[in-house]
C-alpha cells in the first residue's frame, strides 16, 4: 500500500486543463488525502505548454514530489517536456490519436487511450476530461465514487441526464484502464475521509484579512497577487467592506495610508514591481506612524523578470528598499495554512507598532493549493482584533484642544504612543512625511530629530511575535534555515538527511524576516552550522544575518534562482555536502543539480 502518489497532466495552456485538475484535487481532498498541487505556466493566456502536478498523500505534504506515478498528456510536447519527471517504470498515459513517442532514454510505460474517440462516442467531446479522470483514478487506485459524487453535486442543476453522462464517462475511463492494463494500477492507502480545506495562499491571505478586521483594500492587479483582492471583492459587499482597484501601486499604497490614518485596517497586495513602486509611500507610513499591511507575493525579478516563476528575492526591497532610515516589519508565512492567522496578526502588529507590516509571500505559496486543517482556521482561534494604543476620546475631549500629542514622549513599553482618529474631539494633529514635533507640526531641531528617529527605529526591535520556529531534532548537527514555500521541502528533508548521513538535523522557520531575529536564530541553532535555503541569487537572508552580526563562518547557503521550487533531494544533497565540510556555498537548478559556488554575496573582487 502506497502512502502517497503523484499525478501530473500536461497540455496546452487555456484549454481547460485547470478545471479537470480542480476536480481531481477537490475529490482527492474530500477523500481525506493531503494535497499539494503545483503547476508550470507562462505569462500568456492561450497556447503554449502547461502542466499541473498533484501530490496526494495520507500525510501532510508541502513540497514537490520526487517523481510522477501517472502522467496524463494530450499532446506530444507534454511528453517531451514531462516524461522525464515520471518515476522509472511508471506510467505515461497519452491520447492515442497523437500516436505519441517517448523521448530518448526515459524508462517509463507509455500507454495510449482513445480519449477523443471515446468522448465522441459519448456524444460530447467535453467528456474527454471525465474519461481522463476515470482512467487516472483507476491507475492511481483512487475510489471512483468520490469523482461521481463530485459530479452529482457540481452539475446536479444541469439535470440528471448530464450527470449520468459524466458518470458514464468516468466509469468508461476507469474500466478501460483497469481492463486494458490489469495489474498496472497502484494501491494507495485510503484517505481518512476527514473533511479538510484546499486553497491557495492568496485565498488564505484574503481570509486572514477578513478575520483580521480588514475592510479596506486598495490594490492594482498583478501576477501572482490578484486573487487576494478578487477574493475579498466578492466577500466585502456582504459586510460593508470595500476593495478598490486603484490606478497603480503608488495610489494603492498611499490610499492604504489614508485609510489607516482614518482608522480602518487597510491592506494592499502586490508583487515585486509594485513593491518597488511603493518605496516612497512606505516611508510616509513609517514617518507618520500609520498602520498599513502589504502582501508581497514574490516572483522572479528584477523588473518584469519571470512573472509566473517562483523566487524569494524581494527581501532587501521589503526591509531596506526606501530612502532614509525607516521602520518596517517583514513577516514570512511558512504555509498556506499559516497565512490565515499570520495575515490577521499582521494587522495587530501594524496597529501596535504603527508602521508598515509586510508579508513576504511567494509565487508558489500564493498560487499553489495546499491542504488546510479546519482546526488551523477556526474563527475563534484567530488572533483577536487588537487595535493597539489609541487615545481615549473622552479624556481627549476633556483636555481641550492643543493638548493631545500624537507623537508624545509618553510611550508604552514598546516605545509607541497612542494615536487619535479623525472624529475624536481635540485629537486633531498633523501626520506628515516631514520631520515633526509632538503635535506633528514640521519641526527640524536637531534634538527633536534624534528623538523622533530613535523613537521610530528602536520600537521595531521590540516586536512581539513568534519570530522563529524550530523543527526536527534538538541539538542538531546542521540546521536548515527556511521561510515561505521552501519550508515544506526543508521540513521533509530532515528525515532524508538524517537517514543518509546519520546526523541530527533541525529546521529553523523564519517567520520574522525583519527586524532580523539573529540572536533568536543563534540561540535556536545552539552552535550548529546554518544552511540558509533561499530562492534568490545573492543569498539575501544570509546577507541580512551577517550584516546583523552573525558569524559568516557559521553560515552556509543553498540558492536556487531558476524559477523552480526546491526539491527535498536538492536540500538533502546540499546538507550532505555541508556536513561533509566539502563546501560552504551551494547553488542548484538551471538544469544542473547541487554544486559548489563562490560566496554569492556581491562584493568587489580583488
Amino acid at each position: 500500500m502506497l502512502k502517497e502518489v503523484c499525478w501530473q497532466i500536461g497540455g496546452e495552456q487555456g484549454t481547460g486543463l485547470d478545471s479537470t485538475v480542480e476536480v481531481f484535487n477537490t475529490v482527492a481532498s474530500r477523500a481525506g488525502y493531503y494535497v499539494y498541487a503545483y503547476k508550470t505556466f507562462a505569462s500568456r493566456i492561450k497556447g503554449g505548454h502547461t502542466d499541473f502536478t498533484t501530490r496526494l498523500s495520507v500525510e501532510r505534504v508541502m513540497a514537490p514530489s520526487a517523481g510522477v506515478n501517472v502522467l496524463v498528456t494530450l499532446d506530444q510536447e507534454s511528453i517531451d517536456l514531462c516524461a522525464k519527471n515520471v518515476y522509472p517504470g511508471s506510467i505515461v498515459l497519452a491520447e492515442e490519436a497523437i500516436n505519441p513517442k517517448l523521448p530518448e532514454g526515459v524508462d517509463v510505460k507509455l500507454l495510449t487511450m482513445p480519449f477523443n474517440k471515446m468522448a465522441l462516442a459519448l456524444g460530447n467531446p467535453l467528456m474527454k476530461n471525465n474519461l481522463v479522470l476515470g482512467a487516472s483514478a483507476a491507475l492511481l487506485g483512487l475510489d471512483l465514487e468520490g469523482f461521481k459524487a463530485y459530479a452529482t453535486s457540481k452539475f446536479g442543476r444541469k439535470g440528471e441526464e448530464f450527470v449520468a453522462l459524466i458518470h458514464q464517462a468516468m466509469q468508461e475511463g476507469y474500466d478501460y484502464a483497469l481492463t486494458t492494463w490489469p495489474g498496472l494500477n497502484l494501491q494507495i492507502e485510503k484517505g481518512d475521509g476527514k473533511e479538510r480545506l484546499l486553497m491557495i495562499g492568496n485565498e488564505a491571505a484574503a481570509l486572514g484579512a477578513l478575520a483580521g478586521g480588514c475592510r479596506t483594500v486598495f490594490s492594482y492587479p498583478i501576477t501572482p497577487a490578484s486573487e487576494i483582492a478578487e477574493t475579498l471583492v466578492k466577500i466585502f459587499p456582504k459586510i460593508g467592506g470595500m476593495a478598490v482597484q486603484m490606478e497603480d501601486e503608488l495610489a494603492s499604497m498611499v490610499a492604504c495610508i489614508g485609510a489607516g490614518f482614518a482608522g480602518s485596517r487597510a491592506m494592499t497586495a502586490t508583487s515585486g514591481p509594485g513593491i518597488s513602486l511603493m518605496q516612497e509611500a512606505l516611508g510616509l507610513a513609517s514617518m507618520t506612524e500609520t498602520p498599513v499591511v502589504v502582501v508581497d507575493t514574490q516572483r522572479g525579478g528584477p523588473s518584469t523578470g519571470m512573472p509566473t516563476k517562483q523566487e524569494q528575492s524581494d527581501l532587501f526591497a521589503l526591509a531596506y528598499g526606501g530612502h532614509g532610515d525607516s521602520p518596517r516589519i517583514v513577516l514570512a508565512p511558512g504555509s498556506v495554512e499559516e497565512l490565515v492567522p499570520l495575515t490577521a496578526e499582521a494587522f495587530n502588529l501594524a496597529d501596535n507598532y504603527h508602521c508598515p507590516v509586510m508579508i513576504a509571500s511567494d509565487l508558489a505559496l500564493a498560487l499553489f493549493q495546499q491542504t488546510v486543517e479546519p482546526e488551523a482556521v477556526k474563527l475563534d482561534t484567530m488572533p483577536k482584533i487588537d487595535r493597539g494604543p489609541i487615545a481615549n476620546p473622552a479624556e481627549m475631549a476633556a483636555l481641550g484642544r492643543d493638548v493631545f500629542e500624537r507623537y508624545s514622549k509618553q510611550t508604552n513599553e514598546n516605545g509607541v504612543s497612542p494615536r487619535s482618529l479623525p472624529g475624536m474631539k481635540h485629537g486633531q494633529f498633523l501626520a506628515t512625511g516631514a520631520e515633526h514635533g509632538p503635535f506633528g507640526k514640521v519641526f527640524e531641531s536637531a534634538k527633536n530629530r534624534v528623538y523622533m528617529m530613535d523613537r521610530r527605529m528602536k520600537r521595531i526591535q521590540n516586536v512581539k511575535t513568534e519570530a522563529i520556529r524550530y523543527f526536527g531534532t534538538p541539538n542538531a548537527d546542521i540546521v536548515l534555515v527556511a521561510f515561505g514555500t521552501t519550508l515544506g521541502a526543508a521540513q521533509e528533508a530532515i528525515a532524508t538527511i538524517e537517514k543518509s548521513t546519520g546526523k541530527k538535523v533541525g529546521v529553523i522557520q523564519v517567520r520574522l524576516i525583519y527586524p532580523v531575529p539573529a540572536e533568536q536564530i543563534k540561540a535556536a541553532a545552539a552552535g550548529a552550522k546554518l544552511l540558509v535555503v533561499e530562492s534568490n541569487a545573492v543569498g539575501q537572508f544570509a546577507f541580512m544575518l551577517k550584516g546583523t552580526g552573525y558569524n559568516p563562518a557559521e553560515i552556509s547557503s543553498l540558492l536556487k534562482y531558476d524559477g523552480n521550487l526546491f526539491t527535498v533531494e536538492e536540500i538533502a544533497n546540499a546538507a550532505g555536502v555541508v556536513l561533509a565540510g566539502e563546501a560552504q556555498y551551494l547553488v542548484t537548478g538551471g538544469g544542473a543539480g547541487v554544486r559548489a559556488t563562490e560566496d554569492p554575496t556581491i562584493t568587489l573582487h580583488a
Binding site: 485565498e203 479596506t216 460593508g240 470595500m242 490610499a255 489614508g258 474563527l379 472624529g423 486633531q428
Partner: protein, 288 residues
C-alpha cells in the same frame, strides 16, 4: 458651532508675505465654519509644495502626504469613514505634474471629496521652475529660454473625465471663493475647486492684478447654464480657462460610495469588524 478661531492653529506661517495661499486657507476655514462643521470631523490632505503647508495652519485632522499623492489618500479616508468632511489641497505641480495620473482617476471615480488646487502656475517651494500650468513661453529656472510645452487645462480635463462639479476662484476674491468651496463641499461627489493663488515671489506674470483683469465670471455670461457640460467646455476653451465661479455641476451625481454594493451609511471605522461565524463557515465551505 465652531468659529474661525477653532479652525486656526498657533503655527507661524511659512508662506511669503502676500502669498495667494493665505486667501485660500482663509476661504476654506470660512466655508467650514459657515457649513457648521467641527474641526474633528474634517480631514485635510495636502500635497508637497508651499501650498502643501496648508495643513500646518488649519486645525483639523491633517495628512501631509508625499508629492503628488493627496488624492488617493483623501479618497481612501472618505471610504474608510464617510462620516468625515474630506478636503484634498495642493499646488499645480503637485496635482498636475507628478500627481496627474491620480487626478485623472479621482475625476472618474467620483468619491465624495473636495479637491482644492492652489494654482500659481509655478513651482514655488523648489524656487521657481516651470509647472504644467505655466504659460507657454514663460521663462523660469528650468526653462530660461521660455516654456515650450502647452499648459495643462485642468478644468477641461475635469469635464472630459466626467467630473460632476467644476469650479474656479481667485484667492483674493474671498466672497466668491468661500461660496464655491461651500457648494463644492456640499456637492455629493468629487468636486474640483481650482483657485488662482498667485506666487508673489517667483511668478511676476500671473499676479493678482493679472487675474483680476483677465478672469471673467460665469455669472456675467449671458444665459450660461452650469448644468451644460458641453457649453462649459466651450467657454473654458474660448477663454483659456480664465473663468471663475461654478462652471459645471452635474444634476444627478452618483458617488462611488453610493454605487458600491453593500456599502453602509456608517463609516467603516465605526463598524464592528468581528466576523459573523456563519459568514466565516460559509466562506470556508467554498474550499471544502
Amino acid at each position: 458651532m465652531a468659529t474661525m478661531a477653532d479652525f486656526r492653529t498657533s503655527e507661524k506661517s511659512w508662506w511669503c508675505p502676500g502669498c495667494g495661499d493665505f486667501g485660500v486657507l482663509a476661504a476654506l476655514q470660512k466655508a467650514l465654519v459657515d457649513l457648521g462643521t467641527e474641526p474633528e470631523n474634517v480631514a485635510v490632505v495636502a500635497g508637497i509644495g508651499c501650498s502643501g503647508k496648508i495643513g500646518n495652519y488649519i486645525n483639523s485632522y491633517n495628512l501631509h502626504v508625499v508629492h503628488g499623492r493627496s488624492l488617493p489618500a483623501a479618497q481612501a479616508i472618505k471610504l474608510a469613514n464617510r462620516e468625515l468632511t474630506v478636503v484634498a489641497a495642493g499646488g499645480d505641480g503637485d496635482g498636475f505634474a507628478i500627481g496627474m495620473g491620480h487626478y485623472m482617476h479621482a475625476l472618474r471615480r467620483n468619491v465624495n471629496i473636495t479637491y482644492i488646487v492652489m494654482d500659481n502656475q509655478i513651482y514655488g517651494l523648489t524656487k521657481g521652475q516651470t509647472s504644467p500650468t505655466s504659460d507657454t513661453g514663460m521663462s523660469t529656472k528650468s526653462t530660461p529660454a521660455g516654456n515650450i510645452e502647452k499648459s495643462v487645462n485642468q478644468m477641461q480635463l475635469a469635464l472630459a473625465s466626467g467630473c460632476g462639479f467644476v469650479a474656479n476662484g481667485l484667492s483674493s476674491n474671498q466672497k466668491g471663493l468661500v461660496e464655491v468651496i461651500k457648494q463644492a463641499i456640499q456637492y455629493p461627489g468629487f468636486a474640483l475647486v481650482n483657485t488662482y493663488s498667485p506666487c508673489v515671489t517667483f511668478n511676476k506674470v500671473n499676479t493678482f492684478d493679472f487675474y483680476k483683469s483677465e478672469l471673467i465670471d460665469v455669472a456675467n455670461i449671458e444665459g450660461y447654464d452650469r448644468h451644460d457640460r458641453f457649453q462649459a467646455m466651450k467657454v473654458l476653451m474660448e477663454h483659456n480657462e480664465l473663468v471663475q465661479g461654478v462652471i459645471f455641476e452635474d444634476k444627478n451625481p452618483a458617488s462611488y460610495e453610493s454605487l458600491y454594493p453593500g456599502f453602509k451609511e456608517q463609516g467603516i471605522v465605526n463598524q464592528d469588524w468581528n466576523v459573523d461565524p456563519a459568514l466565516w463557515e460559509k466562506t470556508l465551505a467554498q474550499y471544502k
